[in-house]
Amino acid sequence: MRANPAEYELVAPGTLSAVLTLLAEEPGGWLPIAGGTDVMVQYAAGKLAARRLVSIWNLEELRQIEVSGDEVRIGAGCTYTDLREHAVVSREFSLLASTARWTGGIANQNRGTLGGNIVNASPAADSLPALLAYDADLLLVSARGERRLPYGTFHLDYRKTLLSPDELIRAICLKRRFSGYYAHARKVGARTAQAISKVCLAALGKIASGVMADVRLAVGSVAPVPLRLSATERRVNGKRIDGALLKSAKEWASTEIRPIDDIRSTAEYRAAVTGNLVAEFLERLAETEAAR
């Protein structure tokens, strides 16, 4: 433990509006901490730059999951366990439920929050590609008001986001229109459980009139930000899934990403595996379709 607790301040105003007031008074002066599964690791390593933190753990306003006719709003303070245990999320947004299961062990799933993971903006975060595949919107909130923006625009660069210094994520909004899609997520880590991903894929797609319609391929750990493989999607849409397409899709996917060599893996491995995961998804989708 390489930090001195005496040098840190942590306040817990207890309500969303009180937190927002604090953030507005001193934008950038207080680091929000939810479950702490990222912040506390940095802190214990002596690498947390911030000295004043404000707790947003278990704020009622942030820990609801609201289901309406066409949308599910997941409070940013919901934990991965909350996501796994929610019936509608499990049924209609299986990519999110699956990836929640892979985000660390049970103890970390009980504390890690979706909002915290988004703001921490690690390119390796497992559930962020799922949000991209679902075209999630984010509800951001501050003392100045609320704004809604497409999640796809949120990540600007490596650990740089659109979040203003006085803002929090309030909710993640998912449109309930994916029940008819085939969903497939896969994470590749150094071991089966409790591993930071080397590559992860969250994919959706459906076949209409024998060809791919509206494929969504989102990947993590292969670029500075979680990525939608839009170019590959465009080339795959409208095509019949056959051996030639699988081969091409592999090529397109592995060249659309920008993987690096790092302590966990190599760029060439990540590129190859990304291509393999995409091909695997397409193959499974085709098999499921054929089985109908």
């Binding site: 301040e9 479950g35 702490g36 004043r52 103890a107 970390n108 459980a193 409790q194």
Partner: protein, 165 residues
């Protein structure tokens, strides 16, 4: 509004530990793990990695398993904390502890408190887990001695005997 002091004060933080009300005088960012071990003398909870990877520091916070090395004590305010010491407070061993003893689930013992609490929460949620469910549930608690075989056997045995969390 606070100004950036070099050192911040301790404060009183109250919560329940193993059914008892406690108030500690600590810095808000003191780790719950350290408060349990040093302020409250509950040394059954261990530090193995300080990064939330090994699970040796696992405790039950409001009924759910958490890594106490990642919880600032301030966030435990008003909560219920259960540590390994709570399982045999009556003097009798919990069925999981008994099963661990009989099946070889504990070798060096350092991962054992966290492992047993994790298994506790599992049986609380699912009294008849299958082997794959047990294996997945415990994957956040690392053991270097056993290779897990006898830990899984112990949890299965405890479940067979009707243990719950």
């Amino acid at each position: 509004m606070r100004d950036s002091e070099h050192q911040h004060g301790k404060r009183d933080i109250s919560f329940q530990v193993n059914g008892r009300s406690v108030t500690v005088h600590a810095h808000a960012m003191e780790r719950l793990l350290d408060v349990l071990r040093h302020e409250l003398g509950l040394t059954g909870t261990k530090e193995g990695c300080g990064e939330g990877e090994c699970g040796s520091c696992s405790v039950l916070l409001d009924g759910v398993l958490v890594n106490s090395c990642l919880v600032p004590v301030m966030q435990a305010q008003g909560s219920e904390v259960r540590t390994i010491e709570s399982l045999s407070a009556s003097g009798r061993l919990h069925a999981l502890q008994q099963a661990f003893l009989e099946c070889g689930g504990a070798q060096c013992g350092i991962c054992t408190p966290g492992m047993i609490l994790a298994a506790c929460q599992l049986l609380d949620k699912n009294p008849r887990p299958n082997i794959d469910e047990i294996r997945e549930w415990l994957s956040g608690n690392l053991c270097r001695c056993t290779g897990y075989t006898q830990i899984l056997e112990a949890v299965e045995e405890a479940a067979r005997r009707g243990a719950t969390g």
